[in-house]
């Protein structure tokens, strides 16, 4: 699904992302962990062609993401509020995303019904623009906007950070269900080691731009990670 060749990104003379070789197969759930400044978000941005790599390339389905727009049709991502059109109501935003992906209004409405418990009554028909929602609710809108696209590849940056415990559990459950149904590839970063090892089939550990460990998730993975992050 994703092939990384020698990708590198410089900021003020420092390599913030420096990944020699990486292959992500279809249907994998990959968790990206690492401390602040390890380069996780920058790596995601490279993956979405939002920043220009200083060297190397990233292929999505064998096509360079920087050269073709093809990946946009099957990739959905939510990194931060910069992905939300914040002066729209949540409904308007969903219809907009739906339209970009050729989904009719009725289709979107139908889809949103399945999100009722996830939204917990505070997103739809709230009478607010997205910019007036709390950070957690904005995140819910972003995630729902991603899933609405029925992506083959889903990228989420720290999805658990702003959600309340109940919603975190719901999100985990939802991602597992979607993965079971459609075998989509999921790529998430997180500081929550419990959740991320819980859901991922593979863990990548980043430090100073490099992927220093590539683990197939087993029962010991959590321990190994805790060992690494120990103070």
């Amino acid at each position: 699904m994703i092939t990384v060749h020698n990708i590198g990104k410089l900021y003020t003379g420092k390599l913030v992302v420096d990944v020699q070789q990486l292959e992500i197969k279809e249907g994998e759930i990959v968790g990206l962990v690492g401390n602040n400044g390890a380069g996780k978000t920058t790596f995601f941005r490279l993956l979405l062609d939002l920043i220009k790599a200083d060297r190397g390339e990233i292929l999505s389905k064998e096509k360079n993401v920087a050269a073709s727009e093809n990946w946009k049709q099957y990739t959905a991502a939510y990194l931060d509020e910069g992905f939300l059109v914040d002066y729209l109501t949540p409904e308007e935003y969903f219809y907009f995303i739906g339209k970009l992906n050729n989904r009719s209004k009725a289709d979107v409405d139908e889809f949103l019904k399945s999100f009722e418990s996830f939204f917990d009554g505070s997103v739809l028909k709230s009478g607010k623009y997205i910019r007036e929602l709390s950070k957690g609710n904005q995140f819910k809108v972003g995630i729902a906007g991603c899933l609405l696209q029925k992506p083959e590849m889903l990228i989420l940056d720290e999805p658990f950070a702003n959600l309340d415990p109940t919603t975190q559990m719901r999100l985990l459950k939802m991602l597992r269900e979607i993965h079971a149904q459609n075998r989509i590839t999921i790529f998430i970063s997180s500081h929550d080691l419990n959740h991320v090892t819980d859901i991922s089939t593979r863990i990548l550990l980043m430090e100073k731009g490099k992927i220093i460990r590539d683990l197939h998730t087993t029962d010991d993975t959590l321990k190994e990670l805790e060992e690494y992050f120990k103070v």
């Binding site: 946009k72 049709q73 910069g82 992905f83 002066y87 308007e92 907009f96 992906n101």
Partner: protein, 491 residues
């Protein structure tokens, strides 16, 4: 108490503005203010000479009197666009032992310290002292100065009031501009003369100085009105932010344009729901009336079509240039999302074309009322329209791909230099220079109409080539996409 608050305000000014803001912009603004004040002072001192030259044989005082209300009506408009609402983040003070009325008095007094209040003083007081006092006596001069000061205060507080009201309901905005437009139009067609009214009121005041009590009363009423309104709406910001129920809007007429229509729908909401683009649009609407100043009968009589064409380009194209100078930057807060989303760049560029073309077409239809002045203006405007939709749009989009500065669309528009860089200056220069370069050779070699027709035809041809332009502009956009994204993320 007032002094403590003032010192806090002083600190907040220096500690926030200087923190991140561009010093060059501050200095530039300082120069502009100084220039304005000096010009006002110079005009004030030479007013007598000016009047003598412009209105030979007429009584200087009478001409001057006719001018006063004109000035103050114009003043209201300028204030509406530029005057800041005095704000003090009052939350921390509300729970302290300070009376509300004190806070409000502070807000009102502080707001008076603006350059806009200084200009009329410099403009009118010197003339009053040098011309009114010797001829009509000290009493008359005193009455005059009192009424000038009173009118300043009146304008000041009435504008604050209207601006505050229009935060609550946009209808105040609309109403305000309709009234202004009505004044300008009736004055232009000589249905109602502001200068006659002004002349008769102030000439009378020269004889009966006690009449100065009328503007004084107006000023006091405006002040009290504003004071009471503030007292009842001290929590205005909160009320507006939390109390209003937001409703989803549906622009189903855009559906048949597919993705492009949806993009335009989002952009319409952007304009309607955010302060800066909204005020830009309002300014554009005001400038539609610019033709009343620009389209002079003399130009028709002397066949100075170049001037008229320039005016027409300005009027029909301002909607594009005002909005187009920040074309992508308007969306800077969610540009990441747009670029990562399932959105074809060509469709995105096309949506910009369609938006420009439709707005420009509406403007053309509205401004066709200038045909009442002289029917030939319709042809000139049509040529200007083709230039604008055919060439101006391309330039706007092309130059937008070089604009890397994001803007905060929640801020006011007037005197806001955020997001303005070299690209914006070049833009305004090029856009109005190119039509002149097309027009001039034809008009000099053949005749003015040839120049106008040439501009129209070139515009039309370029419009027909739009698909080709879309391809080209998409490629240009992709070349600089990452720089734009990076710039917008920084803000």
């Amino acid at each position: 108490m007032l002094l403590t608050l003032l010192s806090h305000q002083w600190k907040s000014f220096w500690r926030s503005r200087n923190a991140g803001k561009n010093l060059a912009v501050q200095i530039f603004m300082g120069f502009i203010s100084l220039y304005l004040l000096l010009s006002a002072l110079a005009i004030g001192f030479f007013l007598q000479k000016l009047i003598k030259e412009l209105y030979p044989g007429q009584d200087i005082s009478t001409v001057f009197c006719g001018f006063i209300l004109y000035y103050f009506s114009f003043d209201i408009l300028v204030r509406f666009l530029m005057q800041d609402l005095p704000t003090l983040s009052i939350q921390p003070y509300l729970i302290q032992n300070i009376r509300r009325s004190q806070l409000i008095r502070f807000l009102n007094v502080r707001s008076l310290f603006t350059i806009l209040n200084l200009v009329p003083i410099l403009l009118f007081v010197p003339f009053t002292l040098t011309n009114i006092a010797p001829v009509h006596g000290t009493l008359a001069a005193t009455g005059f100065i009192i009424s000038i000061l009173a009118l300043i205060v009146f304008n000041h507080f009435i504008v604050l009031f209207i601006k505050r009201k229009s935060i609550i309901s946009s209808w105040w905005y609309v109403g305000f501009f309709l009234v202004i437009a009505a004044f300008i139009t009736t004055d232009y067609f000589n249905l109602f003369s502001l200068s006659k009214l002004s002349a008769s009121v102030f000439s009378r005041m020269l004889i009966h100085s006690w009449l100065a009590i009328i503007p004084l009363l107006m000023a006091v009423l405006a002040f009290i009105n504003n004071y009471r309104f503030l007292l009842n709406n001290l929590f205005l910001e909160d009320i507006v932010a939390k109390g209003k129920k937001r409703v989803s809007s549906d622009y189903s007429f855009l559906n048949r344009f597919g993705t492009i229509g949806e993009l335009i729908g989002v952009e319409i909401r952007l304009i309607l729901r955010n302060k800066r683009p909204r005020s830009i649009v309002l300014m554009t609407v005001v400038f539609l009336f610019y033709g009343l100043i620009f389209y002079k009968q003399v130009y028709f009589e002397k066949e100075m079509f170049g001037m008229l064409l320039f005016g027409a380009i300005f009027i029909t194209g301002l909607s594009i240039s005002n909005y187009g100078q920040f074309l992508f930057a308007w969306q800077s807060s969610h540009f990441d999302g747009l670029m990562a989303g399932n959105l074809n760049i060509k469709a995105y560029i096309k949506s910009k074309f369609l938006l420009f073309t439709s707005v420009c077409t509406v403007v053309l239809l509205i401004t066709s009322f200038y045909g009442l002045i002289d029917w030939r203006i319709l042809l000139i405007q049509l040529a200007a329209y083709f230039y604008n939709v055919g060439i101006h749009t391309v330039l706007a989009i092309y130059l937008a791909t070089y604009s890397y500065k994001g803007i905060d669309i929640g801020k006011k528009a007037a005197f806001n230099f955020q997001g303005i860089g070299a690209a914006q200056w070049i833009y305004s220069l090029i856009v109005f220079l190119i039509p002149i370069l097309i027009y001039l050779p034809f008009s000099l070699l053949l005749n003015p109409w040839a120049g106008i027709v040439a501009l129209g035809i070139i515009g039309l041809v370029s419009l027909l080539l739009q698909d080709w332009w879309v391809d080209l502009l998409s490629k240009e956009f992709m070349k600089r996409k990452h720089r734009i994204l990076e710039g917008f993320r920084e803000k």
